[in-house]
């Protein structure tokens, strides 16, 4: 019965002169997310976005897709009436209530908007007459203008649009309106969630993954590509840099104190990720770190890894517990993939008792042990990086 969706967006509407930039970005993202489902028409008019559905579209799929567009706070399935002729509209609103609400003992309020100011009735008149009609047609209904259970809206704008239900969108800002950031993506639970959260604020993503064959398998890489693909359902296309990290890892293993391996490794990962971030004009980097979760994520460790980069590092999970992170991972659909049991390179060489309170000057001293090889190894790792364009 629905032929259209009305997209609601919250905070974008509050923007000033550049509001149209946000609205256009949102419109484009809505169109992009619906494209695989068919020929939808997405139009921006008078401070709202309307999605008109093609013949025979799938309601569930469309709702699912709209629920993934950052910037959408809510959306209403809309019944469209081709004419604005009063009797027809009235009848249609009655039928709408009939079909939508099997139980009719609820309180409601009418709302009306008319773009067409020539229309015979004013908005308050539409509400009053329509309410009267509904009360006479359905005896169980009652009106409550202060705290109604349902608000039934009619809009007159060339055609008549009827809607009542508001489905929740993810909120946030349309992707691309806030620039781009580099996500350090592993195969774990946290980093996809971190990417999702930052992207929700309108940030486009690029990602870097560190691969260590033969210590990590191609399946582990495949898993990361799969994770990037799931995240890209929300964020739009993600360019994934797959860095072969084996030789750097082995050099650290050979030359540096073993309990410092992870922290030194992470410092080189940040350096490489920052290299790619600068190359593609990213304005920041994103990690899935959360204070104290593992040895390399203590305050001391964060300070030590943070010291190597100049770009800001965003850590949206920093204050979250694992269970909270898992909740989001499940909601966005990355959890099941994240827990597939393939080795990833952070864990394979892990010391039994890694440092938990590294001291920056000590770590820097240890890194000097790599002085004769590291420049070549970094160069090689960067040059041999494989780039995969991931899209949903």
């Amino acid at each position: 019965m629905y032929q259209a969706f009305l997209i609601k967006y919250g905070e974008i509407g509050l923007k000033g002169n550049n509001r149209h930039i946000f609205e256009n970005a949102l419109k484009n993202r809505v169109a992009e997310c619906l494209r695989p489902l068919g020929e939808y028409t997405v139009v921006r008019e008078q401070g709202r976005i309307f999605v008109e559905c093609p013949q025979g579209y799938d309601y569930e799929d469309t709702v699912e897709a709209l629920g993934r567009v950052f910037g959408v706070t809510g959306f209403c399935p809309v019944k469209v009436v081709e004419t604005t002729e009063w009797e027809t509209v009235k009848q249609a609103v009655g039928d709408f209530v009939e079909e939508m609400y099997p139980q009719k003992n609820f309180t409601f309020k009418m709302a009306a908007k008319r773009a067409d100011k020539q229309y015979a009735l004013t908005s308050p008149e539409i509400c009053a007459k329509m309410g009267e009609y509904l009360l006479s047609r359905f005896s169980e209904l009652s009106v409550d203008v202060h705290e109604p259970q349902e608000v039934i809206t009619v809009e007159i704008r060339g055609r008549a649009y009827i809607y009542s239900k508001v489905l929740a969108g993810p909120g946030g800002m349309p992707v691309g309106t806030a620039g781009k950031a580099m996500l350090l993506l592993s195969g774990g639970i946290d980093s996809p969630v971190a990417g999702y959260m930052i992207s929700k604020r309108g940030v486009a993503l690029e990602a870097t993954y560190f691969h260590a064959p033969p210590y990590t398998s191609d399946r582990a890489k495949e898993k990361v590509v799969d994770l990037a693909r799931i995240v890209s359902r929300y964020t739009g296309p993600i360019r994934l840099n797959v860095v072969n990290f084996t030789d750097i890892q082995l050099a650290i293993y050979e030359k540096c104190p073993h309990e410092e391996l992870t922290i030194i490794m992470r410092r080189y990962m940040m350096r490489i990720a920052e290299h790619f971030a600068n190359k593609s004009d990213c304005l920041g980097m994103i990690t899935g770190e959360s204070i104290g979760q593992v040895a390399s994520q203590t305050m001391h460790s964060l300070l030590t890894t943070n010291a190597v980069c100049e770009l800001p590092v965003f850590r949206p999970l920093i204050g979250m517990d694992k269970v909270e992170i898992i909740d989001i991972a499940q909601k966005i659909g990355t959890f099941e993939t994240s827990i597939l049991p393939y080795e990833d390179c952070c864990t394979i060489f892990v010391a039994k008792h890694p440092v938990t309170k590294p001291i920056l000057s000590v770590i820097e001293k240890s890194e000097e042990l790599l002085a004769d090889v590291i420049d070549d190894l970094m160069k090689e790792a960067i040059e041999s990086t494989e780039v995969i364009e991931v899209r949903a």
Partner: protein
């Protein structure tokens, strides 16, 4: 160079088998249950396959039931027999190093109230007749034994075990999981007192998703799948005609020269074992001494011949099996690791434990498995690669 040494996982399909299957898919695609000509043509393939298989087992064509593969054959054998015989008793005997498609159904049967005895093999991977005799009791209705262990290639003396079962009580059902053995050994169920025998097609250059269960006539067994009543009601569901046709031909081809194949495989195994013995800290399970004491060529050969011709399980001290697997993969050599591990919780193989493999090798063992197409050159190449890789990988063992 490429060396596919994971033939116990699966084999490459034979060209003639594939050509035959393609013909069935494209031309003779009927449903064997259909009454028209297309149905009859399809049925003919099933009949032919039964004849081809029964010829290799010296049994009757009617004793062959087609399944979706080894797992289903084992499930059908175990659950079907247990359900059909529970009034005679509730006790089942098997070994402690079976394939999951045997031990998982056993766990289900235990939940259903059956009592299962798991016989531990000795360090040579062999369950003795004495141990079996000790376990048999009045309540025993089923004995299930794996002819060739898939992980380490231990071979059971099926003939002696079968005789012991029937000597104790002829009505006990004797099931043999021959998924790794069929085609590599001559198996004659009647002579070996086997009532049920599981076989999978893709281990013998046949298609995946197809297998059979030999069911000796008059064996008390119930179906586990219900429906249209195909295959005398024992296994409902439209027959996988192309798969069955492919399996029939693959079985016939495999049965032609079992002795010749054995000889070829043992030659490979001897060559490879000798080559491995020249590398340091490498242990061929079931062959090399556990304490590392050197073997003479004659001793090695004698022990080799007691194991399956196509499977070699090898421990590489100081090298994680998964890492070695991927390092070999980079060189075009495909093997399997004893177990899929995650870094924190190595899922250590029950089989390796059962044959008393040293603790430090449990997570450092890979399996090489050969087939008729495996060549000495491939193994020579593998040995060269190992010689080069092992010192590198050993440098980076987890501290």
């Amino acid at each position: 160079m490429e060396a596919y040494l994971d033939n116990s996982a699966t084999t490459k399909i034979n060209d003639d088998v594939l050509a035959l299957m393609e013909r069935v898919y494209k031309e003779d695609f009927g449903n064997p249950s259909s009454r028209h000509k297309k149905g009859m043509e399809a049925e003919r393939y099933i009949k032919t396959a039964k004849e081809q298989i029964s010829a290799t087992l010296k049994c009757k064509p009617d004793e062959i039931f087609f399944t979706s593969g080894g797992t289903e054959s084992n499930n059908m054998a175990l659950i079907g027999t247990a359900l059909a015989n529970k009034r005679s008793g509730m006790h089942i005997i098997t070994t402690s190093f079976e394939h999951p498609s045997v031990y998982e159904p056993m766990f289900i049967l235990e939940e259903m109230g059956f009592r299962v005895t798991y016989l531990a093999p000795g360090p040579e991977g062999v369950v003795t007749v004495e141990a079996l005799k000790e376990a048999l009791c009045e309540d025993t209705i089923l004995v299930s034994m794996m002819a060739v262990n898939n992980e380490v290639g231990a071979v059971q003396d099926i003939t002696a075990l079968g005789a012991a079962v029937k000597e104790y009580n002829a009505s006990i059902v004797f099931h043999v999981d021959a998924i790794q053995a069929y085609g590599k050994f001559r198996i004659y169920p009647k002579r070996q007192n086997i009532d049920l025998l599981s076989v999978s097609a893709h281990k013998l250059h046949g298609p995946k998703g197809c297998g059979f269960l030999y069911v000796k006539e008059k064996t008390k067994i119930k179906p586990i799948l219900f429906g249209g009543g195909q295959q005398k009601g024992m296994r409902s569901g439209t027959e996988n005609v192309p798969g069955v046709a492919g399996l029939g031909l693959a079985a016939e081809l495999a049965g032609k020269d079992v002795e010749g194949l054995q000889e070829h495989l043992f030659e490979l195994k001897k060559y490879f074992a000798k080559g491995l013995s020249e590398l340091s800290d490498v242990t061929v399970h079931l062959v090399d001494n556990k304490d590392g004491a050197p073997l003479s060529d004659a001793e090695r050969e004698e022990r080799l011949y007691k194991t399956a011709p196509h499977i070699m399980s090898v421990g590489f001290l100081g090298v994680r099996s998964e890492v070695l697997l991927h390092a070999l993969e980079e060189k075009g050599i495909y093997v399997s690791s004893g177990s899929a591990c995650s870094s924190n919780h190595p899922a250590v193989s029950g089989t390796l434990k059962a044959i008393d493999v040293k603790k430090e090798l449990l997570d450092a063992t890979v399996r090489f498995s050969f087939c008729k197409d495996t060549t000495k050159e491939e193994l020579q190449y593998t040995l060269e690669v190992l010689k080069e890789l092992l010192p590198q990988l050993r440098k980076f063992w987890r501290k």
